[in-house]
């Protein structure tokens, strides 16, 4: 076990635990955007930074291992200031309209993305719709790398996408920026499953939102088992007006770790290809 103090309180965590895990162990809600339990930390977003006594720079809580005797501040002026600035920079350049976590953090830290003027540099661009299963709206992309990780070594190992370009021009891209049907993509949708901002979105959700009919509070979520092969993946069916509108899987599930294949993620349509008159009846 490792003993350290966080905001003055003593904490004991197992060897190898991160500062983030130590914070969570004592109920401190640390903001994260690029972190997910099932993925390798990439230290991209910097909203989880904390102040470590004796360290010149702030350290990312999600990746830094807890060490004996560490003294951590999670809510010092320096931490609040840094988190606020990071959120302001993200909010000024990216459309966060479908990113509930980022918006909640902006509110908590009083981030004001408008303070960089009326015409800040943005990643605004047309939405990419090149297949019938999911859309890519990179105007909403905060470059957290989660989709790249899920498509790569952390889950799917398909490597259909990576970060291309440098600096402000860095962006998520297929090989040679080809359309998805010409890429290595196998439509598992595991990138959508980990996207924190809605930049990657099921076509079903995108179309309902466009029609103003996406009604999350009215949706039910029911866990069941996929109807295809014998692996036994848990599917969470998101249902609105007796229609499945999207499928996810619990990240803590020991079979899936939140990941599915194309059939589990998208292959449900056969139970609701009904005559038009019967829809939503």
């Amino acid at each position: 076990m490792v003993e350290l103090t966080i905001d003055g309180a003593p904490v004991r965590v197992p060897d190898g635990a991160t500062i983030l895990e130590a914070c969570r162990a004592i109920g401190i809600d640390t903001p994260t955007l690029c972190f997910l339990e099932s993925l390798t930390p990439v230290n991209a977003c910097r909203v989880c930074v904390v102040e470590l006594e004796g360290s010149r720079a702030l350290v990312p809580a999600c990746a830094r291992r807890a060490e004996p005797g560490m003294a951590i501040q999670t809510d010092s002026p320096r931490v609040r200031h840094s988190r606020k600035l990071v959120l302001e920079l993200l909010g000024s350049s990216v459309d966060l309209s479908t990113a509930p976590d980022a918006r909640r953090y902006c509110e908590r830290y009083g981030a004001d993305p408008r303070r960089f003027g009326a015409t800040p540099a943005t990643v605004a661009q047309p939405i990419k719709i090149d297949n019938e299963l999911y859309v890519r709206d990179y105007a909403k992309c905060i470059l957290c790398y989660k989709c790249v990780e899920a498509c790569g070594v952390d889950a799917q190992n398909t490597f259909a996408i990576a970060v291309a370009g440098r600096g402000f021009d860095a962006h998520i891209s297929t090989e040679y920026d080809v359309a998805l049907p010409d890429s290595a993509c196998v439509y598992c949708g595991n990138c959508i499953g980990v996207c924190p901002t809605g930049a990657l979105m099921f076509s079903s959700e995108h179309e309902l939102r466009a029609r103003g009919q996406w009604d999350e509070p009215a949706q039910t979520q029911t866990d069941t088992i996929c109807s295809y092969c014998g692996v036994g993946c848990t599917l969470t069916l998101h249902v609105q007006e007796n229609e499945i509108v999207k499928v996810t899987s619990p990240i803590e599930n020991g079979v899936t770790h939140g990941h599915l294949c194309v059939k589990g993620r998208f292959g449900y349509q056969y139970v609701q290809n009904r005559p038009p008159g019967e829809l939503s009846s």
Partner: protein
């Protein structure tokens, strides 16, 4: 170490393959045995591209090499197995050289797999229909089990033999007694004590003999001994080998009842159709996965129109037949099963919910369920019967290649599709190209066809037109297709209904065909 034998898990069990990939990242070795260089094989340390149907020759040669190198687990063999001497004798003729001749796999590669498997600290031997869809399916499986027994790779954490189940409840169906020789919980229908137990619970007289499996039923239809058939959630008019023959037999029935969520091709032949709710999202219940994990299915949608829950249909039918059945809930049916099956006794709905499912056997409500089976083989003294070796001989596919039918056609699944396409046809997969006959670049040159050109494929039973897809993972003389798009391309017009006498499985994996470039007329 993981051996995938006759399995393309990367496409057919993608989330299982995630676990394989994680193991590979941690240093595990992967060997893939498959006639095709599949997307699974691309991850392998070694790919053994054997000729279709030469699995036993390969397995026996691996066994012989392990013995020749003295790498067998003597202590385990002596303590926990039987029939070893006969097995050793039976594999003696399968030298690496002879195996190379029969299987087409280079001798050094066979030797490499043999040594890697025998030396592995833990080894998992997984297979799928590449092993079981043959006329000698059971012998194929026994040949693989022999290897596990030889090395003691069974009954320990991380070591075992593992048939990857292809459907979400094919394990559960058998566990629940939806097979002709078992009651729920693996209890034998010809065992007098079991019969009496179930007679007592159900208050009926039960037959003393096992019934027919699907293949037996078709044979009985042929003999006109079976004239009434009740089909629940299956589409034999399209999924059976030698489809024209199977459909003719279904047409010849006096009475055919079909219970399904769709009006399938089989349903179109039926006298009575019961529209059913989709079991995984329109009703409650359980399914059992490939790891014997009993898992809860939950109702998320109201079924359309007049579709009923399967249990409600069965109960209503039973009442019409004069039985005194109330409307059982799925949970009541499950609790009855628990009261009669030791395997499931401890799995109440609350525990299934809390534990994300429980693998059987689970003997009581404090039992966590067994992570793996056969650990008794490691107990001293041995508890229960010894695990038998089986001497099995190479027996090539029923249909040999000849001048008239020189191409080996094998069948399987693709990533985004499933079986006869009844389910997977419902969504718009960008990966889907419709049915194709996959052939090697060499054969494409030989027949003078390009990707997308239509060819005529003919077997002794039927003939179809299908576009070709060139797959560099195939070698000369080997073609691959699926039966996902039966309405457009009826692949099972070609396949052979030669079946394994013990399992009843048809040899979907091997028939002989001729390929003719199409002249454009159909």
């Amino acid at each position: 170490m993981i051996v995938l034998w006759g399995s393309n898990a990367r496409e057919t069990h993608p989330i299982f393959f995630h676990h394989v990939l994680r193991a590979l990242r941690r240093g595990a070795k992967l060997y893939v045995v498959d006639p095709r260089r599949t997307s699974s094989a691309r991850w392998a340390d070694g790919w053994l591209g054997l000729d279709v149907g030469s699995d036993i020759a390969l397995a026996n040669a691996i066994g012989r090499e392990i013995l020749a190198a003295g790498l067998e687990n003597r202590a385990f063999i002596e303590r926990a197995t039987s029939g070893f001497d006969a097995y050793r004798e039976s594999v003696e003729p399968y030298t690496l050289e002879r195996a190379e001749e029969i299987t087409g796999v280079a001798a050094p590669l066979i030797r490499e797999l043999a040594h890697a498997y025998a030396r592995a600290g833990r080894a998992e031997l997984c297979w799928t229909l590449g092993i079981t869809e043959h006329h000698n399916a059971v012998d194929n499986v026994r040949a693989l089990i022999n290897l596990a027994l030889l090395c003691g790779h069974v009954g320990r954490y991380g070591s075992g033999v593992n048939p990857l189940r292809g459907q979400n409840n094919v394990q559960g169906g058998g566990d629940m007694g939806a097979i002709p020789n078992k009651f729920p919980g693996g209890q034998d229908v010809e065992d007098e004590a079991s019969i009496r137990k179930f007679e007592g619970a159900w208050n009926v007289a039960l037959p003393r003999k096992a019934g027919w499996n699907l293949t037996d039923m078709f044979a009985a239809m042929e003999r006109r001994e079976l004239d009434t058939l009740y089909v629940v959630g299956e589409n034999p008019a399209q999924s059976e080998a030698d489809q024209e023959h199977a459909t003719a037999l279904l047409r010849g029935l006096k009475h055919l009842i079909v219970q399904d969520i769709f009006l399938t091709k089989t349903g179109e032949l039926a006298d009575v159709v019961f529209p059913a709710a989709a079991s995984w999202c329109e009703s409650e219940g359980t399914v059992t996965s490939s790891e014997r994990r009993v898992q809860r299915c939950r109702k998320a949608l109201d079924p359309p129109g007049d579709a009923w829950d399967d249990i409600a249909i069965l109960c209503a039918l039973a009442r019409r037949l004069g039985a005194d059945w109330p409307d059982y809930t799925p949970r009541q049916a499950w609790d009855e099963c628990r009261s009669l099956s030791e395997w499931h006794a401890g799995m109440n709905y609350e525990r299934l919910d809390a534990l994300d499912g429980i693998p059987w056997p689970c003997y009581d409500e404090t039992h966590p369920g067994e992570q793996f089976l056969h650990s008794r083989l490691w107990e001293a003294p041995l508890r229960g019967p010894r695990a038998p070796f089986a001497a099995v001989e190479h027996d090539p596919p029923v249909e040999a290649l000849d001048e008239e039918y020189p191409v080996r056609l094998t069948t399987g699944r693709r990533l985004d599709s499933f079986n006869t396409g009844v389910q997977s046809g419902g969504y718009r997969s960008p990966l889907r190209r419709g049915e194709t006959l996959d052939i090697s670049p060499d054969d494409a040159r030989r027949y003078g066809v390009a990707d997308g050109d239509t060819v005529r494929v003919t077997s002794r039973r039927g003939s179809i037109l299908v576009p070709v897809r060139i797959d560099p993972g195939l070698r000369e003389g080997l073609a691959f297709t699926t039966f996902h798009f039966n309405d457009a391309v009826a692949t099972n017009l070609l396949t052979i209904d030669a079946t394994d006498p013990k399992s009843g499985t048809a040899e979907f994996k091997a028939c002989a065909v001729r390929i003719d470039p199409s002249t454009g007329s159909g």
